[in-house]
Amino acid sequence: MDESLADYAIERMGALGASYAEARMELSYVESYIVRNGNPDAADSSQGMGIGMRALVGGALSFASVDTLTKPRVKEQAERCVRLAKAAAKRAKKKIRLCDEKAHVEKYSVFQKERIADVPQEEKMGLLFDIEKAVPKDMVVPGRYFFLQLSQSNKYVANSDGSKIHSEIPRVFAMCVPTVVAYDRSAQAILYYAASAGWEWMKNEDVPNKFASEVRMLHRSLTEGKSPPKGNVDLIVGPEVAGIAAHESCGHPYEADRILGREAAQAGESFVKPDMIGERIGSKVPTIIEDPTLPNSYGFYLYDDEGVKAGPRILMKDGVVNGFLHNRETAAKFKLARSNGSARSAAYNREPIVRMANTYVKPGDMKFEELLEGVKLGVYIKSFNEWNIDDTRYNQKYVGREAYLIENGEVKGPVGAPIIEITTPGFWSAVDAVGNDMTFAIGTCGKGEPAQGVPVGMGGPHMRLRGVRLGGG
């Protein structure tokens, strides 16, 4: 990468009147492989490189990107970026300001024991064929879609404050979608296995065996699953469900740009208002943390795309709203001294906006067996398939994929597709205990326009919820 072009863009925007200028140069390499019902589709190896830049002029913000990396083209876009900000400034009633930040000069990378680029293609594709071989022979699985994506992003983030940050983050990602049929009924799962790591992580993950276990579980659920009990029952939810709830009904509504209405026409707003810090949302049990810096996590980064150093943020503490996710613009609007490093962009040609990275429920000290104790009649929802939530993040739904009846403190046989349909305060207020375990699932979080899917982690321990109305089955 010729970083001098990004530095040149910053200089040029500054010379034209930008009070703040930023340029982010990114080289991304992506390999993708698909095996569909045992047959390979095209193996893809793609590479993209470009610069995304922002200018703040007269209290208005603009973004421009270019992927033809010649000095004349970069100059053209830098000048356009300033021109756009000036045009926006003419209409601005309220001026946009960015909070002050320290300048950082830093270089960091994720260690790859087996570098993605060095692993032979047949070994990568071979993983998908190994998953195909792991399909249990005694089960009918007419749909088998396996996808492997290996990527590496080399990024240079610089701004007119003097930050110059180099990073190298590889990511490994596998997705399996089995469709299992039994007794003229079908069940499906969308399974993800991913991390910020080299190829060694995927090898150690043992995806074929995990996949086979899921297929056996789906088959058992189809053949033995009973209807879940109706009405108000106790629930134990697995880390996957705890994680999605933390992401959807705590992480998203605590995004400061959403609270301020910047995403109102797309991903929506928030039931959380700016003055709700200190307000109780849940019981005294749940604490929810957001942390981009967790080693090898799927949402990993150490500095955000505005050059701000990242660290853990406590969103909900003991059931009370504790803090929001900020970039430099929202931090200034909330009159905070500093951003908390939540600005992310999906690629060089996307503006950085407030995003989650890894959101999780803080574990407690109870063993799984202790959570079960005292549940006379309930359901253990280990994982989920379908979910959604309204655009203020208040009404949500999770439909169980793997779930079991609990009777008198013991896990019994499978139940089919239990449904939790509940408000956010209803969900977090029902939590009366959390386990001492901790597992992360992953996802691709959508927000922004044009769409920006970014890698995120979502996790937590097992959690117990009391008296939740259950549907489905």
């Binding site: 698909i34 047959n39 095209a42 209409r91 309220k94 309204d390 949500q396």
Partner: protein, 443 residues
């Protein structure tokens, strides 16, 4: 590198690919220059500009299929060498049945130069929409105005080649009032003269004005009138799920249903890449086959999947001109209109709901079509054919096949919908559906 050089780039790429041993090769350069005005709280949040380039190359060695997309066309030699090296170890794709052969005639649909030159007018156009919404009753608005200018240059080793330039504008506006009401509308066009952001702005403002202090909605099986914004979500999922690749992967409830009834006899669904005003229209697919109008559902019966050459051969059908380099996909989804006026639809409904927008559609099982989606913005309660209030906090929890079979009324006007949730341009009327499953949170 510039647009004028693209023909040379793709010709050289195909020649080099064949020289490297490929038996089939396709190269496409896609360039675009686009802008966006993003606004929130009736203020400009940001103005954006993108200059994007990609060279997509597809190389086949016997039955070994490889592809690449790069943003720097000068890297073509290294990319072809990488794919050649990888091909030696790639497994064979038994489903590969070749790519389109021969020369084709393509429709000409030249871009509107006024859109190409409209970069400096976008803020003023946006303001027209915002002011119209505020005049109609909005206290604040949010949304985007996009301008797209694209051009593609394609060559295939089997003969097809095309060059195409396109331009379009799209506006999406959500209007809010202080009493918890909101309305959302989109408008788009391939001709600047036909594009008036004030119209969707006014409609969004009027919708939000109808919603004052909405009450938590009912549950059960209800008659629901889906306006084009929300009906588009149904059409896009049915036509999108007709992609043969999805069907084969088990990710479609349309599997094994060709010739069978999948909807009410009123339902006719198409993919159509030829519509002059369709934002997704293209002269040809990625193999160079001219796009066409493909009827997916005729009078409720599943007629066809969407194919490229290979999936067509596998399913005993012909390509429908829907090839992406990897998978077939729709260009513009279309649900054919009926003959009912808005008043007649409400009269037919009697009691029920009008759902004016949905988001976050998710499937529990693509194979069965079990899904749910969340109505947002104005949800209007109808009694005896009259709007009597607004509701909130509900969810459509149903099955896509059953939804299609419940269609009992179609409006007479077709509207093109294209916004953040509807990424494939979709032409739909108002759609009345009976016995729609409605659920809600209870704690």
């Amino acid at each position: 590198m510039a647009k004028s050089e693209d023909a040379g780039i793709v010709e050289a790429a195909v020649k080099k690919a064949l020289g490297a041993g490929a038996t089939d090769a396709i190269a496409i350069v896609n360039r675009s220059s686009s802008n966006q005005v993003k606004f929130a709280n009736s203020e400009i949040a940001t103005l954006q500009s993108w200059l994007d380039t990609s060279l997509d190359i597809y190389m086949v060695f016997g039955k070994r299929v490889l592809s690449s997309s790069i943003t720097d066309p000068t890297r073509i030699d290294a990319t072809i060498e990488l794919l050649r090296r990888n091909s030696a170890r790639a497994p064979e794709n038994e489903d590969y049945k070749g790519i389109a052969e021969g020369k084709f005639k393509y429709r000409k649909n030249p871009p509107d130069k006024k859109i190409i030159d409209a970069e400096g007018k976008l803020v003023d156009l946006t303001w027209k929409g915002i002011l119209a919404a505020e005049k109609a009753g909005a206290d604040r608005t949010a949304g985007t105005l996009h301008r797209y200018h694209t051009w593609s240059t394609m060559r295939s080793s089997r003969g097809p080649s095309f060059e195409e330039e396109g331009a379009s504008v799209a506006f999406s506006i959500r209007a809010f009032n202080k009493d918890g009401g909101s309305g959302h509308m989109s408008g788009c066009s391939t001709k600047l003269a036909d594009f008036n952001p004030a119209e969707p702005g006014k409609e969004a403002g009027e919708l939000c004005k109808l919603v004052r202090k909405p009450q938590t909605g009912p549950e059960g099986k209800l008659k629901v009138l889906f306006t084009p914004m929300s009906a588009a979500d149904i059409a896009i999922h049915v036509v999108g799920f007709a992609s043969a690749a999805r069907v084969e992967s088990g990710m479609s409830f349309l599997r094994d249903k060709i010739g069978k009834d999948v909807g009410s006899p009123m339902v006719n669904l198409y993919d159509d890449g030829t519509l002059e005003d369709g934002l997704g229209s293209r002269c040809a697919d990625d193999e160079g086959i001219p796009t066409q109008r493909t009827q997916v559902v005729k009078e409720g019966r599943l007629l066809s999947y969407l194919h490229n050459t290979s999936t067509g051969a596998k399913f005993g059908a012909k390509s429908t001109g829907n090839a992406g380099l990897m998978f077939p996909h729709p260009w513009n989804c279309v649900m054919e209109p009926g003959d009912m006026k808005h008043d007649e639809l409400l009269e037919e409904m009697g009691d029920g709901l009008i759902v004016t927008n949905v988001w976050y559609t998710r499937f529990q099982n693509y194979f069965t079509g079990d899904y749910s989606t969340i109505p947002r913005d104005a949800i209007l309660k109808v009694e005896k054919g009259e709007v009597v209030g607004a509701v909130k906090g509900i969810r459509v929890t149903d099955n896509m096949g059953r939804i299609l079979k419940g269609v009992c009324g179609l409006g007479k006007e077709l509207r093109q919908i294209y916004w953040w949730e509807i990424e494939t341009p979709t032409f739909v009327p108002h759609v009345l559906i009976k016995d729609v499953g409605i659920t809600k949170s209870t704690m």
